[in-house]
């Protein structure tokens, strides 16, 4: 194993890691807010990828341009899903919450096939395709943009959460809902805001992902388990933890895929998750 190769693997791993992180960040936000794991998160990803694809193929709009539009559209979708479905289960048991979003996942996958068909689509020739060569290391443009996107999104989230009024209210509700209510914070609206932000984050991820991954109704399932593990690894509720978790997973799976039979490349990731949560039952950066 030459240093060149190792470097390439690390760089590629980080690239994928940023993509996982970007997908995971939205999940972490929702969990931190209200303790719900959104099992339909992958389907939000899928929808944003379809949106990006159709904007590109029918509207000839480059994904770079449509990214903010897709994010905005996903924000609306997230809020909608909150009001129509999540609000009903938010005070219920964990089971009801899990299965409400599971049902949504199954429904959205089927609806996607119903409306878009089962074909695979790919965005080709956008501004974000191609590679950048740094010495002997190849940096694919989509991964670079995902890295930038993930970092910017996480930063933006922090800014929103800590330096804006709605963000502060969001954090208040997540820390102590009753207290926040007594202070006049509309907890319901804050929850909806969180869902909207989460969907917007994954919308950005989908927009970037569509540049190099193919879109089809079940694409959500490919990425979503990784996202959960990233969130859990980093600690449920910690957005920074999700970023961290995603990066670790990205690097680990690339290295594992090189040395182990490729089918098993995620097994070390899963084992790492188990080891970490057994030692620190709330993940790496999670709240105690």
């Amino acid at each position: 194993m030459t240093t060149e190769l190792l470097l390439q693997l690390l760089v590629s791993g980080l690239g994928m890691g940023f993509i996982f992180a970007l997908i995971a960040v939205g999940l972490a936000l929702i969990y931190g807010m209200m303790g719900i794991v959104n099992f339909a998160h992958g389907e939000f990803l899928m929808i944003s990828m379809y949106a990006t694809y159709y904007a590109f193929s029918l509207g000839h709009l480059d994904p770079v341009l449509t990214l903010p539009l897709v994010a905005a559209a996903m924000f609306v979708l997230g809020v909608f899903v909150y009001y129509v479905l999540v609000r009903r289960v938010i005070n219920g048991s964990m089971h009801a919450q899990i299965f409400a979003t599971f049902g949504l996942m199954i429904f959205l996958q089927a609806a996607a096939q119903f409306f878009f068909g089962a074909d695979y689509y790919a965005v080709t020739g956008s501004l974000l395709s191609g590679v950048v060569l740094l010495g002997s290391v190849t940096l694919p443009m989509p991964q670079i943009s995902a890295a930038i996107g993930a970092t910017l999104t996480t930063l933006a989230l922090y800014v929103v959460m800590f330096h804006t009024a709605p963000g502060r209210s969001l954090r208040a509700v997540s820390q102590d809902r009753i207290a926040a209510l007594t202070l006049g914070v509309n907890a319901d609206r804050m929850n909806a805001l969180a869902w909207g932000l989460s969907a917007a984050c994954v919308g950005i991820a989908g927009s970037l992902l569509a540049n190099f991954y193919y879109v089809f109704p079940r694409v959500g399932g490919v990425f979503v388990l990784v996202a959960y593990v990233a969130v859990a690894l980093g600690g449920f509720g910690s957005v920074g933890g999700a970023l961290f978790g995603g990066l670790i997973i990205g690097v680990l799976q690339v290295l594992a895929g090189f040395y182990l039979p490729s089918t098993l490349k995620f097994v070390p990731v899963y084992l790492l998750y188990l080891v970490i949560v057994l030692v620190r039952p709330t993940g790496l950066l999670g709240r105690q």
Binding site: F102, G103, P261, L278
Partner: protein, 605 residues
């Protein structure tokens, strides 16, 4: 057998008996047994019912872990797949008869469950769910690559002549139907019995409130392990059945994530933690998905899956306790945490006695706390605290909020490990044992905010506690009722604990702790939130408890009440002990007044 059946069918009621129930059950069973003859060999419907029964059985089995012990697993495909592969491999490699293979499969699956639970039960909530997911996924991937088990190509069970011995039926699949029906019935009866058995109560208690269960003396690890062993073992049989049914297994078919989800969906949507939930869930979900696939899937538009997803969402949103809640109230599992106001608190009119009627003889330390310290991050919660608790005394602990009183309790009962120092019970040191072990050794605590088991009635709450040391149900029930009477809640025996007022909850907590027959009772603010009229009654109760030989340590803010109750007081502030002695002396202690009220007030006094 008939009596037992009646009793088990009524397990979720309050032990009532009737002739209507068993008649309905027997009629249904007979109808189901005879149904195949009416189906005229229509394989689709025969298969539909077979799958319904199989799903019902698996749902019940999942419920043992998920509904009763409260651990949600989305990885049960592990046990299904291991069961299928074990019996198949045993047949192929060792020539083992499939029935024996089934037994082996159940053992292997149960063992897998125990191994999985051993590290994972430490995980809470979603962490556990994700853990089950990733373990299942890992096993799936390993099997896909592993040539010895056929990898992706899977294993085929050789076709043998149809017979019960061979566990294979070719043309006429009716025997599969009966086996599945028998399986579902047996598992349902098992779960129903479990529900009213000691083990069932303990699991329900653990599900409702792990801390409270542990504080009474139940080892969480042990009981969860038992639950998963049963759950996994039964699913293992289902795996063998499936293998013998389809005669071809491969990783996607028996180890895939959709299987785990399907197994869990049935009891969750049917009604988690109930006996009838999985049955209802199996009937509704299976029928719907099979028919919609048969009639709608051909268009390739996935309309059937849209319907399925929409149904799941609807049930989760509108009937989160499951379909069963359409028929009856399911207690406690989806309750909001609000506590009803103590509107009609029965004031127990007893004249308070100022002096304890009990005469202590020699001062005999039962518990020695020596130089105990504990830090939480930047906060020194306990700093070199030392004192002794004398046998049969009532010792009060006072101090302002944040003094470390509850932390001290935590150390004394094993919830919290001290950084330094030691605690000795009857001369034997507590060597970092957990609260359940210590509870069995005789130290039991109540909680500042009462923690009743919300899905149970008043009496059942105490029953759980009594079952720690009394194995006979009847005797335990007697003990429970006695304790209820002792705290004046006997007339509430059958009411759900969910509706208890604060005062009732406090007394329930005390009665529950008493039922374990503790040597030392640690009471955390027993008068908190109790209306003034009821306080004398509580005080009398505590005195009576002490009179029966229990040592009591009380944290209280109600200094007036405490001074009439306690033999001695210990005052704490900021993690240190600042005073110790007779109540009158301690209450006058400058440092205590200072701590409670602040320097300025003291100066002004």
């Amino acid at each position: 057998m008939t009596n037992r059946l009646i009793a088990t069918v009524h397990s979720s009621q309050f032990g009532a008996r009737s002739w209507l129930m068993p008649t309905i059950v027997f009629a249904s069973l007979t109808a189901l047994v005879l149904l195949p003859f009416g189906l005229n060999g229509r394989p689709f419907e025969l298969r539909l019912f077979t799958i319904i029964f199989l799903n019902a059985a698996m749902g019940q089995a999942w419920n043992i872990l998920g509904g009763y012990a409260g651990q949600t697993s989305i990885g049960h495909a592990i046990f299904f797949g291991l069961g299928a592969y074990t019996s198949t491999l045993a047949g192929l490699e060792l020539g083992l008869n499939p029935w024996l293979g089934a037994v082996l499969a159940m053992l292997v699956s149960a063992l897998a469950g125990v191994l999985l639970g051993f590290p994972c039960f430490r995980l809470k909530g979603h962490y556990f769910v994700i853990a089950t997911l990733v373990i299942a996924e890992s096993i799936f991937l390993v099997f896909t690559e592993w040539n010895a088990v056929g990898a992706a190509i899977g294993l085929e069970i050789p076709i043998r002549p149809s017979s019960w011995l061979n566990f294979q039926f070719g043309r006429d699949k009716t025997p599969y139907y009966w086996i599945a029906l028998a399986f579902a019935t047996l598992v349902t009866v098992f779960v129903a019995r479990l529900s009213s058995h000691r083990l069932g109560f303990i699991l329900k208690a653990i599900r409702d409130d792990e801390s409270a269960a542990r504080s009474l003396g139940y080892s969480l690890q042990r009981y969860k392990t038992i639950a998963i062993a049963f759950s996994a073992g039964l699913i293992g049989f289902a795996g063998t059945f499936y293998a013998q049914y389809v005669l071809l297994i491969d990783p996607p078919t028996v180890l895939g994530a959709p299987i785990s989800i399907a197994i869990a969906l049935i009891p969750i949507l049917g009604g988690i933690g109930t006996v009838s939930g999985p049955l209802l869930g199996a009937v509704v979900l299976t029928t719907l998905s099979e028919y919609s696939r048969a009639y709608f899937s051909g268009s390739g538009r996935n309309v059937d899956l849209m319907i399925y997803g929409a149904l799941i969402m609807a049930i989760a949103a509108y009937r989160p306790a499951g379909l069963v809640s359409l028929f009856r109230r399911v207690r406690g599992l989806n309750a909001p945490e609000s506590v009803p106001v103590d509107a009609t608190a029965p004031a127990v009119p007893v004249t308070p006695t100022a002096a304890p009627a009990f005469e202590r003889t020699a001062a005999d330390p039962i518990l020695c706390v020596r130089s105990v310290s504990r830090r939480f991050g930047g906060l020194q919660a306990l700093d070199q605290v030392s004192f002794q608790v004398m046998r049969h005394e009532i010792l009060g602990i006072v101090g302002p909020n944040g003094a470390g009183k509850s932390t001290l309790f935590g150390v004394m009962c094993g919830d919290i490990r001290p950084d330094s120092g030691s605690v000795k019970l009857e001369g034997m040191p507590l060597l970092g044992e957990r609260s359940d072990t210590l509870a069995r050794r005789g130290i039991v605590r109540t909680f500042q905010t009462p923690r009743p088991f919300l899905s149970m009635s008043f009496e059942e709450n105490i029953l759980v506690a009594a079952l720690v040391r009394i194995t006979d149900r009847r005797e335990a029930r007697r003990e429970a009722r006695a304790r209820l009477a002792q705290v004046g809640l006997l007339d509430c025996a059958d009411r759900p604990a969910l509706g208890a007022s604060t005062g009732q909850r406090k007394r329930l907590d005390i009665a529950r702790a008493l039922a374990t027959n503790p040597t030392i009772l640690l009471l955390d603010e027993p008068l908190g939130g109790v209306d003034p009229g009821s306080i004398p009654g509580v005080i009398e109760l505590l005195q009576a408890i002490r009179a029966q030989g229990t040592t009591i340590v009380v944290i209280e803010h109600n200094l007036e009440a405490l001074s009439g109750l306690a033999d001695r007081l210990i005052a704490m502030a900021l993690g240190t002990k600042i005073a110790e002695g007779a109540p009158a002396d301690v209450m006058q202690d400058r440092r205590l007044v200072h701590a409670y009220l602040g320097a300025e007030v003291h100066a002004a006094a």
